[in-house]
Structure formats: structure tokens, C-alpha cells
Amino acid sequence: MTILTGKAEVPRRLRPHRSGVLRKVWEHRADYAYVLPAIAVMLIVIAYPIYYTIELSFFNTPPGLQLRDKIFVGLDNYTAILKSPVFWTVTSNTLIWTAGSTFIAFVLGFACALALHRDFAGRAILRAILIIPWVISAVAASYIWKWIYHSDFGIIGSVLVGLGLSDRPPNFIDSVSTVLPSLIVVNIWREFPFAMIMMMAGLQTVPDQLLRAAKVDGANAWQRFWHVTFPHLRNVSTVTVLLLAVANFNSFIIPWIMTGGGPSNASHIWITHIYELAFGRQRWGVASAYSVLLFLILMSLGYFYVRALSGNDQKDGSQ
């Protein structure tokens, strides 16, 4: 049993190591057994698809995904993307969607965490209710909000009409000008609880002594927040914002189910557009080229993500 051979307790530095990397790898061969299943799964389901997407982005495939008949077209798929007017619509939608959802969800979640930080009667119940939207499925959320926004029987429209603010119920998700903000409201509804949980967890690590010391020094509530609490939560905030940004950049379900990208592409973001190109219009090559571009963008975001994480490590001096 490989598990019996671990040598974790002996500090590595104390043992002589005159040999090369391979020797070191061999010495630790038992350790790899633990991570092997995880790595194997990731290789099959991640590394191979990434390689395949890059390859496919240089080819044209006939409809029906007849891969034997694919034709090499060089960079044609990439130039086709940049020339297409839809590209710019979709890109600006993606930026508005990602930035808007991330910023508002983070601010609302952080504010909830601060408001819930102090104990009061009913706090646990309130917290539980606020988390629920994050747990239920995005498909259910999409249908709930589709019903709320319904242009004939939707509740928001009825209230607006009832209060005399509107002659007839507005077409929240059927109109080009309102569809994106309406979908962002739904997305924030699902995502602010995640920011709330992360920031609540972070708040628990802010040392009480620091806050009390600041209070003694005459700092008011806002100053204590801005000069003590917030700087202490910088790493958690960075990680939370990055995770939110990536999740929003990658969202699919809400726009796909609520509008399918319409009306006239007004709610198409990159992800839904790629899906439609591949599985709707069977343009696998162009869809793959889009995916490669997306991949490059996310890799650069990933760089900051890893830096934020390793920043945490170095601060603790634990690694």
C-alpha cells in the first residue's frame, strides 16, 4: 500500500539532495499516487479538449460534424470573427454584463456581510434566506424571473401600471434597450449571496483589537471600515471579485433560457454566441476560434487569480 510510505514529517531540506529533478520525482513517487486520480480526470476532461479546440479553430468542418472532411483554412476563422459586426455587439454586451453584474453583486454582498456581522435577533434566519437564490438552480431562477417580467401577466409590470407609473406593462426582456439590464438584475439576484458568504468569512478574520484600537483613537465607523476592515479584506475581495467576474463572463443559463440571446442579439454574450455558432449553426471552426480567444482572455484573468491566491500564501508565510 503506497499510503504507508509517505515521509511528510521529515523536513525535506535536512535530507541530502545532490541529484537531479528526476531523482527527486522518483523519491516522491508515492506522493504522486494521491494526486494521480485527480490529475487523470483533469487531463481527460480539460487538457485534451483545450488541445482539440485549438486544432479545430484552424479548420472548416461540414455540417453534421463530419470530422474526416474538415478543411484547413489557416486563420480564416479568426479574421471572420473580427470582421463580423455581431462580434462587437456581443463583446460590448459581454463587458456590460460582466462588469455590471460583478460590481453590483460584490457591493451588495459585501454590504449584506457588514450588516449581518453584528449579532441580532433573527440573524441566522435572515442569512439563510439571503443565501437561497445562490443555491437554487439557474434554470429555476430563469423561469421565475421570466414569469415576473412577463409582458402581459408579469407582476412588476402590473405594479407599475397599478401605481400609474406606466400605461401598459413594459416589455422588460422583449425590448432591445431593457433586456440586458433586466437580465443583470436576475444574475445579481443569484450571485450576491456568494459575495456575501465570502465576505462574511473574511470579516471573521479581522482582528477585534485593531477595530477597538481605532475606536479609541477616535476613528468613526466609516473611517474604521475604510482604514482597518477593508484593507484587511483586500485578498478576499480580490479573490471574490475575480471568481465573480469569471463566473459572469462564463454565464450561459440565464441569457440562454430567458431570451436565447434576443431580441436582435441584444442579450447575446460570448458564451451564448459560441454555443449558437457551434450547436445551432454548426459552424464548429468559428466557434472553436471564439473559444480560443476566450481562453486567452481567461488565461490573463487566471494570471491575476493565481497571483491573488499566492499573495495569500506568502502573507501567511505558510508556503
Binding site: 500500500m1 480526470v41 439563510a128 437564490p133 437554487i136
Partner: protein, 295 residues
């Protein structure tokens, strides 16, 4: 004398300002509670309306004749609607449970190794695993669809389980690693001095201490698999294999006017994960604190 008065005034002012923040916080929380709860309440109210009552303008805030007909229809194995719904429910349960069990089996040793051992390439592998979180399903969708077709897994639940494993895995490993980091190595050493093997020390000492982390990991995997839509939507086409999110969508795209039925289905789809989460959320929040934040 005058200084005392000033101090008292200062204290009063400070207290007022703090109260201002507290009241602001309360009003904000009420607003957030309405934003969060009203859509869910409206879902429940709609689900107990008749199809006719739902289609009225202005809407009935509370139905004249509340009815559980939608729920009866969905849960009745005698009619075709109920048969479909219950089958989707069972499929979701099977796929999610299998994913959860496999995730824990794969993540526990990996997280333990990342926490305790310092083998070459450890940091690289750790971040490579974490990077999975960065990439959208769509990037992997086309090649995985081709791969699954080539190995004959399209239209099987195995294709979903294999894919879902990789969603939960990065966060699972990350959360669990945080837990193992916080369990002192000395505990294991003590057990081994007392004659336990490494495996026994792990099973008897480390596993119980990290149980909250494992539970949190399991919840996360289960919820992720239960709610997943895009792969199930792409990989499965046979009606009897669909999971709930896709099943509901296929089902109601043919019959979109049945909003009470749709809301009842959405509610029943949400119940298992919400109950699971509320019962076990303590562990989850603790795992985030220990795994993600303090670390």
C-alpha cells in the same frame, strides 16, 4: 466642567452616528430581503393557482381558489406528465449522488497530498487544478461532445458524471487542503508512535477532524451536479435520460402557458438542494472560512 460637557456631547454624537449606520444597515437588509424573497414567494403563489387564474390582469395577489393541482399532476405516476417529472427527478438524483461520491474519493487524497507532501511540481499541479475554475463549459463543450461521441458515451449518464467531476474537484481540493493545513501533523505522529499505520492514522485521526470539510465538499459537488444544465442539454437527447433542469425546459417549451405547472416544477427542483444546504450550511461557511479565507 466644560470638558466634561464636551465629552458627553461627543459621546452622544458618536452614539447617534453609530445608530445611523445601524439603521442604515437594517433598512438595507429589509430591501435585500424583499429582493431575495419576493420572487420566490411569487413562484409559490403562482404554483397554487389554476392555469386560468394565473393568466389575469391585474394579477390575483392571492388566488381565489388555491389548488395543489399542479403538484398532483407532477407527482402522479399515472399520467405522462408525472411519469416524465419523476423520471427526471430520479435521473438528477442518480447523477448528482454518483458525482458527489466520486468527487470525495478523488479529492480527499489529492487535497491531503497537497497539504502534507512537498513533491516536485506540487505548486504547479495545485494551481493547474484551480485554473479549471477559470474556463467556461462552452470551451470544453465541442471537443468533449466529439470525445464522448467517439467513446460512445453520448446519451449516457456516465458522460455527465465524468464531466461534473471536474467542476467540483478544484474547489473541493482547495477547501479540503485548507482543512488539512489546520490539522496539526503532531496528532498523526502521535498516533503512529502508538503503533497506527499511516492509513490508520489518516482514517482514525484525520478523517473525523476533517469531516466538516468533506461534508462541505460533498454539498458543493451535489448542488453543482443537480443544477448543471449546459452539458446535460448537449450530451443527452433521449427523453427518458434527461436530468431535471433540461427536462423541465424541454417539457415546458412545448407548453409555455402552463406557468403554475412550471413554478411548481421549479419549486420541487429547488427543494432538495435548498434543504440540504440549509441543514449543512454551518459546515460550508466554516469550510470557506478555513479553506479559502484564512489560508
Amino acid at each position: 466642567m466644560s470638558t466634561i460637557v464636551e465629552t458627553a456631547q461627543g459621546q452622544a454624537r458618536r452614539r447617534m452616528r453609530i445608530d445611523g449606520w445601524r439603521w442604515g444597515g437594517r433598512i438595507f437588509l429589509v430591501f435585500m430581503l424583499l429582493y431575495t424573497a419576493l420572487p420566490m414567494i411569487w413562484m409559490l403563489i403562482t404554483s397554487i393557482k389554476s392555469g386560468f387564474a394565473a393568466m389575469q390582469f391585474p394579477p390575483q395577489w392571492w388566488p381565489d381558489q388555491p389548488t395543489l393541482a399542479s403538484y398532483q399532476k407532477l407527482l402522479d405516476p399515472q399520467n405522462s406528465v408525472g411519469q416524465d417529472f419523476l423520471r427526471f427527478f430520479w435521473n438528477s438524483l442518480f447523477v448528482s449522488t454518483a458525482t458527489t461520491i466520486l468527487s470525495v474519493i478523488v479529492a480527499v487524497p489529492a487535497a491531503y497530498a497537497f497539504s502534507r507532501f512537498t513533491f516536485p511540481g506540487r505548486n504547479f499541479l495545485f494551481f493547474a487544478v484551480l485554473l479549471r475554475n477559470m474556463f467556461p463549459a462552452v470551451i470544453f463543450l465541442v471537443p468533449l461532445f466529439i470525445l464522448m461521441r467517439a467513446i460512445g458515451l453520448v446519451n449516457t449518464h456516465s458522460s455527465l458524471i465524468l464531466t461534473y467531476l471536474t467542476f467540483g474537484l478544484p474547489l473541493a481540493i482547495w477547501l479540503l487542503k485548507g482543512f488539512y493545513d489546520n490539522i496539526p501533523v503532531q496528532l498523526e505522529q502521535a498516533a503512529r508512535i502508538d503503533g497506527a499505520t499511516r492509513l490508520q492514522a489518516f482514517l482514525l485521526i484525520v478523517m473525523p477532524l476533517s469531516a466538516p470539510g468533506i461534508i462541505a465538499t460533498a454539498i458543493y459537488s451535489f448542488i453543482g451536479a443537480w443544477n448543471e444544465y449546459i452539458y446535460a442539454y448537449t450530451f443527452l437527447s433521449k427523453n427518458d435520460q434527461l436530468t431535471l433542469p433540461v427536462g423541465i425546459q424541454r417539457f415546458f417549451s412545448e407548453n409555455t402557458t402552463d406557468f403554475p405547472g412550471l413554478m411548481a416544477a421549479s419549486f420541487m427542483m429547488s427543494v432538495p438542494v435548498v434543504v440540504l444546504f440549509l441543514v449543512l450550511q454551518r459546515y460550508f461557511v466554516r469550510a470557506l472560512t478555513e479553506g479559502a479565507v484564512e489560508h
